[in-house]
Symmetry: C2
Subunit: 305 residues, 2 copies
């Protein structure tokens, strides 16, 4: 694989940026990788690990002469960074982001992008419950989807090159518009996260059940919720605030359906429960067939995972 961008600037040095750096290194996809983070401690750790060629102190320095700039920071921080780097961007450069919400990011970032720059929002659907500069790894994007959100003004060559980069890092690339992206993600990610956070909070609150009991007896079901609910608090606060309307719409549908099932339990309507549970099994089969998870049983133990 040959170099796709001569110089890449990573703004933010967490799980996604770190994984991109590792993957670009492995594939020799970038001539030079320059990184920065608002936190001095994070910059120091990144220097120590060495996944960037250079770690600089400010976003303005990082984007100087960069062919691709990646905004890999919480959604709520995108606007102020865009304002700072806008005037420093190279003519013809591409700017992308990895935020979990697209309409809000476009509203915050696009006004600061000069006419001579290609701003192509993006969202790799990959992650773990870990965060920070030590959490990245080269294989994170393999066989995962990356959604790009171009509009009618997007330059085809610039879009093609960004797509090539993601594919070279192992991802499958799809394109959709910002509104649809935000609805799809509200269903597949944002609402499930809020629900998991809520359930874990309820367990913690319940005085008649001790934390030790919750922790020890979490084998079935609850364990998966705690993994989801261990995700980065800042990132998720921003996601919910930035994708407010789609998230609230899906949560509204969810509570409606939950009330119907609660009613079935209360009235002893076993047939309704059985039919519902049978239907949801089919979706699981689809995910395994699509290669997005394994059909192997989930042992749920440290020594076999």
């Amino acid at each position: 694989m040959s170099v796709i961008y001569d110089r890449v600037a990573l703004i933010g040095l967490g799980l996604i940026a770190g994984s991109m750096a590792h993957a670009m290194r492995r594939g020799k996809l970038a001539g030079e990788i320059v990184g920065t983070s608002r936190s001095a401690e994070t910059r120091e750790t990144a220097r120590e690990i060495g996944f960037c060629d250079r770690v600089v102190d400010t976003a303005e320095e990082a984007v100087a002469d960069a062919d691709l700039t990646v905004l890999a920071i919480p959604v709520g921080a995108m606007g102020s960074v865009a304002r700072k780097i806008g005037p420093r961007l190279k003519h013809g450069a591409t700017v992308t982001d990895v935020g979990s919400v697209k309409r809000h990011v476009i509203e915050q970032v696009a006004p600061f992008m000069p006419k001579h720059v290609n701003f192509i929002p993006g969202h790799p659907l990959a992650g773990t419950e870990h965060s920070g500069p030590r959490s990245g790894f080269a294989a994170l994007f393999e066989n995962r989807w990356c959604l790009l959100v171009p509009d009618e003004a997007t330059d085809c060559e610039a879009l093609g090159r960004l797509r090539t980069l993601w594919e070279a890092m192992g991802a499958n690339v799809d394109e959709m518009d910002a509104e649809h992206h935000d609805l799809v993600l509200a269903v597949t990610s944002h609402a499930p996260h809020l629900i998991a956070y809520t359930m874990v909070g309820v367990a913690d609150d319940l005085k008649r059940v001790t934390d030790t009991e919750v922790v020890n007896y979490s084998a079935a079901g609850f364990r998966d919720f705690t993994r989801i609910a261990a995700s980065d608090p800042t990132m998720w606060r921003d996601v919910f605030l930035a994708n407010r309307s789609a998230t609230l719409e899906i949560l509204g549908r969810f509570t409606e359906e939950l009330f119907a099932l609660q009613r079935a339990i209360r009235t002893g309507d076993g047939d309704r429960l059985f039919d519902y549970f049978t239907r949801t099994r089919a979706i699981r089969r689809g995910i395994i067939e699509a290669g997005q998870d394994t059909g192997a049983p989930d042992f749920g133990r440290a020594d076999t995972n």
Copy 2:
């Protein structure tokens, strides 16, 4: 390890009974294992796999002369099986079950147990989303908890022997009363399962988001829900109906809390969201420290799981 029970009867030949048979074989814990299932097809499959020494056609035959009988069938089927086997049970034998609900099982089973038999309800907190006679494996119970629910009349020697069996199959054993068990499990398992089923159903219903999109873009969050929601429909219908009041209580607390977080999203109260999400992270840490899950990142891909 020496033989703990000369003859063990397994009523039901699904994931739990199959795994018990494999684990007892591995540890040479039973002199003879006799199994049965209501379904002729399941009995045939079990004979083919050969994890029992004998597979017989009826529960009455299976329990003849058994020192330990294990009811490993859906909670809703326990009562009618107990009625059939009651008169056939050997003097001094132990009967246990592996149901996810305890108060209801005791109400259904205890009336049919003769005075000369020790009925000690149990619940191994282990499982995968698979079911049926082919899904069992010897390591299922290793480092998992098994909860036993004795009462003041329980014979100490019989309880100690059952505990020894579970420990020899790799489980940690704890004891609690039936009401507390049902509340703890409503929090750690039953409510999370109903919530996961609901969310997967909502995604399937939403016409503006295609099933392909749901399947492809399920990497973050939703994927774990689909695994939970792929569990056996019959078993779970019975669990919700049998643990109705505790499940509805926890779901009530859950929706109350969910509404509070929805309100925080609607009003843009980022601090409240951030604090909540920070608190839930701590519970996850507790679970990893307790050895009930791994701290390794969840790659979520078939080739690494």
